[in-house]
């Protein structure tokens, strides 16, 4: 009985079949992959930080003095040129 083939629902462990894959020359492929991966991670992090920084201000909402200003301006007659 072949017990080794019973169930194979488990996906390969992450990186198991890829991380160490090399082209014929060995190192270069790994290095290139690292650079590409790092580039993507850096870009993802840049986007994340940019939005975090921006959203931190956005989450402060409308400051009361600006809400007052808009309220006043929108109520007044537009007589002034």
């Amino acid at each position: 009985m072949s017990t080794s083939k019973t169930v194979n629902l488990q996906p390969p462990a992450p990186g198991e079949d890829k991380a160490e894959t090399r082209d014929d020359m060995g190192k270069p492929a790994t290095q290139r992959r690292s650079e590409v991966r790092l580039g993507r991670e850096v870009q993802a992090r840049i986007g994340q930080q940019l939005r975090a920084m921006y959203d931190d201000v956005v989450s402060q909402g409308v400051p009361p003095h600006i809400a007052d200003l808009v309220g006043r301006l929108s109520e007044q007659d537009d007589g002034a040129a």
Partner: protein, 183 residues
């Protein structure tokens, strides 16, 4: 005539994002709030030139940017002070970003040329399309794309080495970054 409440609400809804953009331009919360106020004064005085149904945020951002360009940029030395009061607005920054890392990020952002910084913020943070960002900045779509790309590349250069530990890279990556020469 009084302002249409629907228009007023659109204006108010844009204010938080407009402030965030203003702060990123000015690097100073007080000046940014002045700039937002001036923008709103001007916008509401000329509200009849806004076409209902068109993009209110893009319209207000355009006015704010033009004001900033024409008046605020003259005070460049102060403007380039990327730290100062700005840091105070960021006290409650999100947990996922460490304080040190966060200030490094702001410092790096502050080193970008202003046209690249604003393009990156409009597209990467404000969420405008390249087309809207181009309209806001009064330039071609291709120009915005290339500014955003240059900004990203430069930021990556400025941040990559210092942030390497935060990315949890494997040794191979670390070796690549260190250029093999340093440890």
């Amino acid at each position: 005539m009084k302002l249409d409440p629907a228009i007023r609400d659109q204006v108010l809804a844009t204010v938080p994002s407009l402030r965030a953009f203003a702060i990123s331009l000015c690097g100073n919360i007080d000046r940014a709030d002045d700039l937002v106020q001036e923008t709103l004064l001007r916008a509401l005085a000329h509200i009849d030139s806004f076409q209902p149904g068109t993009n209110m945020p893009a319209w207000l951002f355009t006015i704010l940017r033009n004001l900033f360009r024409s008046e605020y940029r003259k005070r460049r030395r102060e403007v380039e002070d990327a730290d100062g009061r700005y840091a105070e607005t960021l006290k409650s920054h999100p947990e996922q970003t460490g304080r040190v890392e966060f200030s490094e990020f702001r410092a790096a952002l502050g080193k970008l040329p202003s046209d690249q910084r604003e393009a990156l913020i409009l597209v990467g943070a404000s969420g405008f399309s390249y087309e809207d960002a181009a309209a806001i900045c009064g330039c071609a779509v291709g120009t915005i794309k290339s500014r955003v790309n240059r900004a990203r590349t430069r930021l990556a250069d400025l941040l990559a080495i210092d942030s390497v530990d935060d990315f949890g890279p494997d040794r191979a990556t670390r070796a690549v970054l260190a250029g093999g020469g340093r440890s």
